[in-house]
């Protein structure tokens, strides 16, 4: 095998696929990536058995071949190479990386043991990369880190007609976002749970351009130009989230997002160590955000609101509150409340398609 690339192109490609290259040594082959050179196609592929990333790259093909290269070592080397043309050639299990006067020879492994990139067939949709990323960002924050509730450790994705819905929850809060997709409406309802890992990789590597999503039986595939990502899906049933989203409210508030996030963040400074709640004291025309922590101190801040009707007191986990206020992208926030004990709903004032349901803490 013998091929030529530019240093910048090669570095970019390896950086793209390195997210799933293992650094642990339980299965040594997984700390390698696969370089395949076929007529007219050079591809880099890495996988941790859950997520696989394949990236095609342009280069000058002098001789075909397949080889597994140590991921971390090659990345570090290429990063230190001078800009310009790099030639990679392999003889038996020795790979030579050349660049003008520099020459590095590294040991490699035969490619036979490397996992293969699966073919995925199933429901196909096309969606903007920017839209997918924003949906992931909004829902991933609520996903459970608790490994025992397995189905909650991923983002739920539902395709129905011309809409796509994504949901994340950890049993204490829930984020739901709904969008319309262009192209053919989906005939049959189809859903799946995407593991956190693929969501993070998508956020890291895809661009804002159009991409194709294929939902297979047990796997999903995302293709964007030269880039292809595959992930295993989480098996199991996602809870019926529609039941827990409040539809009517005793009290509907409109609050300035910047002011609210500032107030909660300041209260959080005091509550951080003891893990105490932040209290929302809703009055006729204002809301008082306060915290009181024994042996630490207390804070209180008044923020004007619109539409105040009934007085309600409710307490939230400040971290959970800040999480949602960070991803809401409108100036005003809608806050729907029912009682001290019932779930509250946050959303952008002008957008009902993103909702964040938060269960209060005991006062």
């Amino acid at each position: 095998m013998r091929i030529k690339f530019t240093q910048s192109e090669l570095l970019k490609t390896i950086q793209t696929i390195q997210g799933v290259i293992s650094t642990r040594t339980t299965l040594p082959i997984l700390s390698y990536f696969l370089l395949t050179v076929k007529p007219g196609n050079i591809s880099f592929f890495s996988t941790d058995l859950e997520v696989g990333i394949k990236c095609n790259i342009l280069g000058e093909i002098l001789e075909e071949g397949v080889i597994a290269l140590p991921g971390k070592r090659v990345l570090e080397l290429i990063r230190e190479f001078p800009k310009g043309e790099i030639e990679i050639s392999t003889e038996k299990n020795i790979t030579t990386i050349k660049c003008s006067k520099t020459r590095v020879r590294i040991n490699t492994l035969p490619p036979d043991d490397y996992p293969t990139f699966p073919e995925i067939v199933g429901q196909k949709i096309s969606i903007k990369g920017s839209l997918l990323k924003s949906m992931i960002q909004k829902t991933l924050l609520a996903v459970s880190r608790e490994e025992s509730r397995y189905t909650l450790t991923g983002v739920y994705l539902l395709l129905k007609g011309d809409s796509i819905e994504m949901v994340g929850t950890d049993g204490r809060r829930l984020a739901l976002v709904e969008e319309t997709i262009g192209g053919e409406p989906v005939k049959q309802k189809r859903d799946c749970i995407l593991p956190m890992k693929i969501c993070n990789e998508l956020l890291r590597v895809i661009t804002d351009d159009e991409l194709t999503l294929t939902l297979g039986e047990k796997q999903a595939n995302f293709i964007q130009k030269d880039l292809s990502l595959t992930s295993r899906l989480i098996e199991g049933e996602f809870p019926d989230y529609n039941k827990v989203i409040p539809k009517t409210f005793q009290q509907k508030l409109m609050i300035n997002r910047q002011e609210l996030i500032g107030a909660v963040t300041r209260a959080y400074v005091l509550t951080k160590e003891k893990g105490s709640s932040v209290k929302f004291d809703v009055q006729k025309d204002s809301i008082i955000v306060s915290s009181k922590v024994a042996e630490v101190g207390e804070s209180s801040e008044q923020i004007p609101i619109k539409h105040g009707e009934k007085e309600i007191q409710i307490a939230f986990d400040p971290e959970y509150t800040i999480d949602v206020l960070k991803v809401i992208d409108s100036e005003e926030v809608f806050l729907g409340l029912n009682s001290t004990k019932e779930a509250a709903l946050f959303r952008p004032m002008d957008n009902e398609k993103f909702v964040y349901v938060l269960m209060p803490m005991e006062m």
């Binding site: 929850t169 049993g171 204490r172 829930l174 003891k274 893990g275 005991e362």
Partner: protein
């Protein structure tokens, strides 16, 4: 003829002897106590074959005059009490007058003794409880008792003796306790010609402990001192991670008498409860001074069981003292200290037998006056290290590495966080201010019949801790809220674990014990795990919380949270300094 008969004299003697003399160690104990009562300063013990073949106890005490030597083999002959009143204010170790006659009944016994007043000594030889020979013989001042072929005439008893090494262990245990009770006495013990114990006159208990357990162990002990209306207490308790699975490492002394007491053992255990696991037992050395009028020693011939007055109060007081003492140790496990100079506690002079034989024995003894310990020199006590902890790095995603001027240390992040959460939850529970997060999607938990029963029993505790649970069908619970701390742990698995742990606990465990268990579990499951990467912010916040936590050197299971390495030791290892 009626069935009930009075057995012959020697049978009665043998029955009674069996009660006092169970095994070689009981002989050793009786003889040592006699020596101590005779004001001996040095006691030399020789053994052969675990004491089965030979026990010889030689002392340099007061010795006996010829007449006494003859009389001492008569049952209930004693120099220590004259009438019943004396029995109520016993301060000598022996008093029943059973020891020597009993030993004589079951062995070949010889006594060589000489008192100060007499010019020559006396040799008394006895076998089967009968005196065979009394002659005049040269002897140094003191008494030497030789016991040969123990139980050779009582095959039934002999059969029950264990191997030499087991019998030897029993003897060593007795001698250890007696030596600790009398640190100023020189003890030597040899077995089959090989010296095993050699502990000279010591002015301080800690040195004596060092003679037996070594310097490393002794220097890790925590001194304990207490004074209340019932007792005065001095001594040492071990750090929690020295607690052993083995029971019986509690060295307890009351008025200089080595005793065993399940009451005090349980009280100590209770005091250690926040820092050691259920199945472990602390090693303690406790020296009590209690008014002799208040206690009853005459419960059992072996005299190592004592009846205490006001048992409940004593239990509470001791466990509280231990707890306080552990809490006060706000220092890292490896501590820098000079030897605390705790004064030894032996029988106050005013209690010796001579005093009691005086005519005015009805005058109450001024107990508190005579036993008052001298004021300790302050600068000889602990030197505490209280410096800001400076954390340098997280290593292996498990330990935090820090340094101060004395050395560096490793903190176990899980243990540290566990302790923080435990104390926090405990405090919050007490003031019913636990931070509770309601669940958006309630969790259902299915339990077995037995587990359902256990959870129902403890529903109140769980409720106070923030687990809002309701029955949902026969063996199913619905969890509606959880304590906020358990962000990463699964409530249902936690409840299952709690049920299982409580099921494994002893039956009839108190509410406090169950609560402790539950708190420990919740803290453990919610804490940072080994392998979790921490940010600098997280480390800082964790350490600042931890420093202000009680018992912060140990996790709630009693594992250490910190290990210290002093620059001194490290320099030594690198051969930088001599």
């Amino acid at each position: 003829m009626g069935k009930i008969q009075i057995p012959p004299e020697d049978t009665i003697k043998r029955i009674a002897a069996g009660e006092v003399i169970e095994r070689p160690s009981s002989v050793v104990k009786e003889l040592i106590e006699n020596s101590l009562d005779a004001q001996a300063k040095k006691i030399v013990i020789e053994l052969e074959e675990g004491g089965k073949k030979l026990i010889r106890v030689k002392d340099n005490g007061e010795g006996m005059a010829r007449d006494d030597a003859e009389l001492c083999l008569k049952r209930h002959s004693t120099s220590k009490i004259r009438d019943f009143n004396d029995l109520l204010k016993l301060t000598t170790l022996g008093f029943r007058g059973e020891a020597l006659p009993s030993i004589a009944t079951v062995s070949q016994l010889s006594i060589l003794t000489k008192s100060k007043e007499e010019l020559t000594g006396t040799l008394v030889e006895a076998e089967d409880g009968k005196i065979k020979k009394i002659i005049e013989q040269a002897s140094p001042e003191g008494t030497m008792v030789t016991v040969k072929n123990l139980f050779s005439h009582i095959p039934a008893r002999k059969k029950f003796l264990k191997t030499d090494s087991v019998e030897l262990r029993h003897i060593l245990n007795i001698v250890t306790r007696e030596a600790l009770a009398h640190p100023r006495v020189f003890f030597q013990l040899s077995h089959n010609g090989k010296q095993i114990i050699n502990t000279p006159h010591r002015d301080n208990i800690l040195d004596k402990i060092m003679d037996f357990w070594g310097k490393d162990f002794a220097l890790e002990l925590i001194p304990i001192n207490a004074n209340n209306s019932i007792f005065q207490l001095e001594g040492f308790i071990c750090k929690p991670f020295f607690a052993r699975r083995k029971f019986g490492l509690q060295y307890l002394f009351v008025n200089g008498r080595a005793i065993s007491s399940s009451l005090i053992a349980a009280a100590c255990k209770r005091g250690y409860q926040p820092v050691i696991p259920e199945e472990r037992h602390p090693q303690v050395f406790l020296f009590f001074t209690i008014d002799p009028k208040e206690i009853d020693v005459n419960i059992h011939p072996s005299k190592d069981i004592i009846k205490f007055p006001k048992e409940n109060e004593i239990f509470e007081a001791i466990s509280e003292e231990v707890r306080k003492c552990l809490k006060d140790v706000k220092l890292l496990p490896e501590i820098f200290f000079r030897k605390p100079n705790v004064k030894i506690k032996t029988l106050p002079k005013s209690y010796t037998s001579t005093n009691l034989t005086q005519k005015d024995k009805n005058i109450p003894i001024e107990f508190t006056e005579s036993t008052k310990t001298p004021v300790k020199e302050k600068e000889e006590e602990y030197v505490l290290v209280s410096e800001k902890l400076n954390i340098k790095a997280q290593i292996n995603n498990t330990y935090l590495l820090g340094e101060d001027s004395e050395g560096f240390f490793l903190l176990d992040q899980h243990a540290v966080h566990e302790r923080v959460l435990y104390e926090k939850l405990k405090k919050e529970m007490k003031s019913s201010s636990v931070q509770v997060q309601n669940l958006l999607i309630p969790e259902t938990i299915e339990l077995s019949k037995n587990e359902t029963y256990i959870i129902n029993e403890n529903l109140n505790i769980l409720q106070n801790l923030g687990f809002n649970m309701e029955a949902f069908g026969q063996n199913t619970f619905l969890v509606r809220s959880v304590p906020k701390t358990i962000k990463k742990a699964s409530p249902s698995i936690l409840i299952l674990d709690i049920a299982e742990e409580i099921e494994n606990m002893e039956k009839n465990s108190s509410i406090e014990e169950c609560t402790e268990k539950i708190l420990t579990l919740v803290a453990c499951k919610s804490a940072i795990k080994a392998g979790d990467k921490l940010t600098n912010e997280e480390i800082k916040s964790l350490i600042s919380q931890w420093e202000n936590t009680d018992y912060h050197n140990w996790c709630p299971h009693g594992r250490p949270a910190v290990i210290r390495f002093s620059w001194k030791d490290i320099e030594k290892k690198f051969n930088r300094k001599e």
